[in-house]
Amino acid sequence: MKIQDIKESFFIAAWFILLTFPIMVIQVNPIENIIEWRWWNLILVGAGSFMLSFVWRYLMNRKAGQKRKESEDAEDIPLTQRLLRNPRFFVPALIVLGVFVFAFPFLFSAYQINIMTTALIYVVLGLGLNIVVGLAGLLDLGYVAFYAVGAYSYALLNHHFGLGFWTVLPVGAFMGAMFGVLLGFPVLRLRGDYLAIVTLGFGEIIRLILENWNAFSFGPSGIANIPRPGFFGVDFSLEASSRYLYFLMIAMALFTIFVVNRLQNSRIGRAWIALREDEIACQAMGIDKTKTKLTAFALGATWAGMVGVMFAAKTTFINPASFTFLESAIILSIVVLGGMGSIVGVIIGALVLILLPEYLRAFSEYRMLLFGAIMVIMMVFRPQGIISGVRRTYQFKGKGDKAVKTRETVKQPAPTTDHS
């Protein structure tokens, strides 16, 4: 530790003390005309920023070092991926995980089961958004709108026509896809950052319409008494019903993982990634830009629509407040934390970000603060997320000795979009 660094950190701490002084220290109560001085916060900010500045500097140096290393040594595969690839580790881990997943609802209370079900909903949402953002490189900030479309499809179809969960589930997915195409079509010509802001605008418009068009959506008061999913007409106790929902959600998550994985490793998935990497080259290679973007948008929205139905059935009550921009931001931070383009990463990201605040109660207040910080920190230090995507390699027929090692994984660097 150099004396120079300590000096610099002192300066940084002083700067942050000064910067946060009015907001952290002074608390005014204009109604009763009282001012509260919270000097303790001053010390917290000072000490906190002093220490964080060391962490920051360390990470910065490491990042600079890594960049140099990477060009020399491209074969370096991170530990997590080596573990994931090694069957001696992978198979038992999968079995343990499977047993745990199955036993979970019988070991824990209904409350815990509900939390886990919620986390699984976010797994599916994260995987859906991952198609759009992680694979195709389209920053969709209005993703929650498709979730709302699914939830309201079930609530309204049930309210007006008495349609059941199982009937509406595919309808919700279909509606999500339809809205994806509908909203996607006009916006896909736009450049990356404009696309982000337009999707944000669309998301808000849909929420505001749901809030204000009382005759259609029952406004801010929402729709209550949405039935839970049925199971051949069996009546469940509340506890059994949350177990049932949990298993449904597990099935849904597995289904999503299966399909998204297949899509990712297909001709279409490759086109998405190419599009993310370089739009102009992609078109010059004969890929229809609009069509490819549209499939990504629609296939991403499908999952939100489907799981929206599930959400309505789980909570039995929905209103527009569940579908704000913050929700989109949460889903985005799941994808960012987990690793854009990585399925395992997104699953872990969703579980961490949804379960952690639930179990660490003291934490939950700071949830959104943390989400914001995660997005910044991940982008600055580890844009590829905690688990970077696995790039498939291929086997060649009849090439004998020339056949290259099969299914080797290559470290996938941060996704790149157009540099223009």
């Binding site: 297949r262 899509l263 078109q283 290679m285 004969g286 390699t393």
Partner: protein
């Protein structure tokens, strides 16, 4: 000789600036042609206009792919131009940097394959066969281009010369009848340039693909080309065999200050 690409009266205006000025050009089947001219003469704009990246202000671009109908293609989107058999590379290499070398070439096969969403999800025998064919064909192209030892490397980790060759490999994967190369030798050392020379000849002779290249390396241009077009200020100022071009006073004037080292 039958022309496979005919460009007539091609004009491109950017606001008040005329980047291409009533340009005429023809490429014959099996020909290696070169487009030369000082910097800013409009050579890359010409490529962009005939491949659908820009829509030309006026003029016609007509292709006659071997064994297919004659067709006017200006106004088509870039992907449709590629589908019809005209592929290109870029002056400032545009690979997919975080995809592997093989995957880069597999992207080139996209427009020659058909499997869709259902195929991807169910992965039936048809899709699997198609995927395997894509992999095999792509590998074959990489072998021809001398890139097979890089298959699973990320494109951005490749040496510069190999990146240029990968761009050509990717273009070949789209099964073109004509490849447009935008400064393929830029930044290459003499050895690499010589290899490129041989490679381009092989592409023409073994694959039967015609080529049109923009190039500043006059030695390469003179040794490769059957025909040379010279552009200056958006206009075609000369065309002919390397011998004719070398002795053309108009060309020498346009290049005044720039050496022709041939």
């Amino acid at each position: 000789m039958e022309p496979i690409l005919e460009v007539k009266d091609l004009t491109m205006d950017f606001g008040g600036l005329r980047a291409l000025d009533h340009l005429d050009l023809e490429i014959d089947r099996g020909e290696i042609a070169a487009l030369i001219g000082p910097n800013g003469a409009g050579k890359t704009t010409f490529f962009n206009c005939i491949t659908g990246i820009y829509i030309p202000t006026r003029g016609d671009v007509v292709i006659s792919p071997p064994g297919k109908k004659r067709e006017r293609i200006n106004g088509l989107k870039p992907n449709h131009v590629t589908e019809r058999g005209m592929a290109r590379t870029f002056q400032n290499i545009r690979l997919f940097p975080s995809m592997t070398v093989l995957e880069n070439v597999m992207i080139g096969r996209h427009c020659r394959t058909r499997s869709g969403i259902a195929g991807a999800v169910f992965r039936g025998p048809g899709t699997r066969e198609e995927e395997q064919a894509v992999v095999d064909k792509s590998y074959e192209i990489l072998e021809k281009m001398g890139l097979s030892r890089f298959v699973n490397e990320l494109a951005r980790n490749l040496p510069y010369g190999a990146q240029r060759r990968l761009e050509i490999a990717r273009a070949m994967a789209t099964e073109p009848f004509l490849i447009l190369l935008d400064e393929p030798a830029a930044g290459m050392n003499p050895q690499e340039t010589y290899e490129l020379d041989q490679l381009i000849l092989r592409i023409r002779d073994e694959e039967g693909i015609s080529l049109l290249l923009i190039e500043h390396d006059m030695q390469l241009v003179m040794s490769l080309s059957d025909r040379i077009f010279v552009m200056d200020y958006g206009k075609k100022i000369a065309q002919g065999t390397p011998e004719e071009i070398k002795n053309n006073p108009v060309v020498i004037k346009a290049y005044l200050g720039e050496e022709i080292d041939a």
